[in-house]
Symmetry: C2
Subunit: 555 residues, 2 copies
Amino acid sequence: MASKKLRVLPLGGLGEIGKNMTVIEYDGRIVVVDTGLMFPTAEMHGIDLVLPDFSYLRGRADDIEAIVLTHGHEDHVGALPYVLREIGFPPVIYGGLLTIGMVRSKLDEHKLVDGANLQELPPGEKARHGPFEIELVHLAHSIPDMRGVLITTEVGSVLMTGDYKFDQTPVDGRPADISRLAEIGREGLLLLCGDSTNADRPGVAPSESSVGPALLEQFARCEGRIIVTSFASNIHRVQQVIDAAAQLDRKVALVGRSMRKNFNIASNLGLAEAPPGMFIQPREISDFPDEKVVIISTGSQGEPLSALRRMANNDHRDVQLHSGDTVVFSATPVPGNERAVNETIDRIYEIGASVITAADAPIHASGHGWQEELKLMLNLTRPRYVLPVHGDHKRLRLHAELAEAVGIDPERIFQGRNGLPLEIDASGAGFGEDIHAGVIYVDGVNIGEPDDAALRDRREISADGIFIVVATISSDDGTVVADPEVIFRGVAFLEDADALVEELADLVEDTLEDAAESGNRASHLIEEDLHEAIGKFVWQRLRRRPMILPVVVEV
Amino acid sequence: MASKKLRVLPLGGLGEIGKNMTVIEYDGRIVVVDTGLMFPTAEMHGIDLVLPDFSYLRGRADDIEAIVLTHGHEDHVGALPYVLREIGFPPVIYGGLLTIGMVRSKLDEHKLVDGANLQELPPGEKARHGPFEIELVHLAHSIPDMRGVLITTEVGSVLMTGDYKFDQTPVDGRPADISRLAEIGREGLLLLCGDSTNADRPGVAPSESSVGPALLEQFARCEGRIIVTSFASNIHRVQQVIDAAAQLDRKVALVGRSMRKNFNIASNLGLAEAPPGMFIQPREISDFPDEKVVIISTGSQGEPLSALRRMANNDHRDVQLHSGDTVVFSATPVPGNERAVNETIDRIYEIGASVITAADAPIHASGHGWQEELKLMLNLTRPRYVLPVHGDHKRLRLHAELAEAVGIDPERIFQGRNGLPLEIDASGAGFGEDIHAGVIYVDGVNIGEPDDAALRDRREISADGIFIVVATISSDDGTVVADPEVIFRGVAFLEDADALVEELADLVEDTLEDAAESGNRASHLIEEDLHEAIGKFVWQRLRRRPMILPVVVEV
């Protein structure tokens, strides 16, 4: 039995906000909980997406019993197409009703839906797969059908909370299943992996249903058009905006692809509804008086290509913002997006429209529980061990301190890292060998690692540009047989580029002559000489270190 | 007289936080108030600094009577070396004592100090230059010797406030000269250009001297080393840290070049002091017990090369952070720096050290007045016209609303833009012709504009990389005389690069053969053909659009 340890291996979401993914392993068999992604920063130079490093799973497709998804947010499901393509299809993919609906649509876009066995697992139902019993526990979050994942093995049970809050008055009337959580606690929970996102906020998060009245109050004061931006997946928020618009006899237009897509999915599943005749098409907006319209738009995070950002840049086909419009940010910036959001807000001010944010009125409620809720989860489930997840290092630490505050022995609380497996058996728990999980980048259709030489090259060229020098020499005697070509790109603010190029061409000829005289004929040695001579010259002249790319052609 | 209008032309600081610069013009003569810079974002690809577009001053060096600097912060003086180099030296550069001291050091580094007539202009003294009378008014800010600038012409007076707060208990005991401001109001102020930075914060900013006791309280609880980070130019903050350290019998090490430099300048001018034997050198830190040391470090904004960032990255020569250390952020992130600051904080948590920020304790006070102070300035100076400056569009609008709230006629309050001159004479005020001031980028030793082709190239290459194809053909008949060379850089995650290069080489040969057969001999036409063929091939294969650079060499 000593070798039969329960391994809980976080591949993402620790020391960061995003790309949540955890491997639960027992007796050589695996359940994967969540397969999330992160969005790239400008420093990543053209990278499209950031994924957890799931190379641990390579060659182990046959060991995977199931992938279980807590909810439909990108930071929990966004990497799924890449995992399926690179690792293979598991026997089953479980989730709540909306989660499965959203994932089906996503896999369809990636042409992967045929191989995927997507199954709704209703809360409370127990699915047996290999050494695991899998059960979903209903919790509340900023998207419907959020489920904690309880995985039971003969060593004990692990509860992955996913993202949750203890909202006592959720919009759909289905609060977190506190009763089942308490039962799990009574039955004896081995390990709790809990959401740390709001571990720094004292108190209890406001209820989602408190947002509706606040929105209505703000809307009632607006005399012109109202543009509301929020996360497209926050179906209950969108529903509350629609309800407020209906009360004020305004029509609603959904603007932005993901806004329309998510509402359609939720609406087809009976999770959202609008009175008949409520919706108008984006192109019809200008047919209605300003005071009769509410636009619900993507772009709450200032995303560069989002509908709202395009409106703020005076670059949206259907919506031209103007004085009298009010833009309502029913969302707060995800950490890292502050600048993009503030830029968007400021452009709206520049146009002359008004802006209302969550700092002005209680028009947003976080989907992640605050400190008192994290403590409640700990007290309900009474875990033997605690591994805080879903948070940067600060929030993981604060969550650990909350666990200590409710009386859990500090020695049973673990400060984890991506790639560091927590191994548990009857004799205790401790970290196993670090597998050094990094990240995977998606660039176009391909994936790779951040230390790829190409990305170093992008950084180098994007900082200082590139000089390309083509020297054509005789293969007989190394003499120059054509004028050297000097080309540069991305070298900024050259004052007299022609003169510089001419000097460089002379330098190239001199270098080639020296090489020929010294009997140096090997192309790669000549290229080294050219690299050194040109690099030195450019540094002296421009105080920059562009990439130098010498090409010697022998004819 | 109709032609003699007073022109107030903001070249920077409107619609943005940073690079403040204003041209005051009357009767063909000019006073420049402030010459500030901004720091670049990652999207600017290797740009080092961002300056106001001062091309309006080109060829007008002889018209400039003076440059007047409100205070020594980079966003008010940082562009001075570039203005002097590009436009020329004015007869005089005025400022407060510390401002002049800091600018002298800066110009010295740029080898420009010899040509500059740097003069302290004591508050209350009036300097006559051409049609202008220049007077500095003492105000309080987060750097000593902050001065508002009053410029009087026969049309009337303009007060540029610079950055200010009405701190009733400043550390140096010199509050803003309210008496003179009231007098200016009684004499009749034509135009107030006021700082809008905190126009969104209700109430009154806390006093700088409230920070000292809060720091002492936090320090007293620390059992290990204390690392305090703040702006190096905030001499009074540094002084208060030193005083708190002295009370707790801890030594102080100043870490980071600008921290040492600014303290030395201030200390030489008698604006800061430390008890004898108080300071230790950074390399001596490890010689003292942890509980006997306070380190004052640069890096409060998460700047990539700053001392604190290097400590957080385990990459500082003298300071290795460890569990037991407490890092105190006695500063808040400047808008746009949130992510860099949060990354730094999180790395410190990862190391196991503790962090205290202004969210945890009142250990920072803004240097910019809040709403009640902005109103007080308006009520004291009772300007006929108001032009809010120093703020993004949101804050300019909110400042305008404050002016309206204290009873100023909305028609006399102007919402400006960089490059839009406000023109005033006895008959009224209004915006003149927009000069479309943009920005100037500094790249290495050169300056230029953001639409420079090189920067577009950097963006293109940094997103998708670059393919370089060298084709060598006979100048006689266009036939291929050497194997084509295909080189790429920054093209990420190629799965079988050799095969791709081989296919590309074949494609190049085919294209060259087609060109030769069709009698197409001109290099630039062949290059166009190659560009099209390769671009198409790469898109089909990689779904990326790297830069394609064909080079045809004729021998």
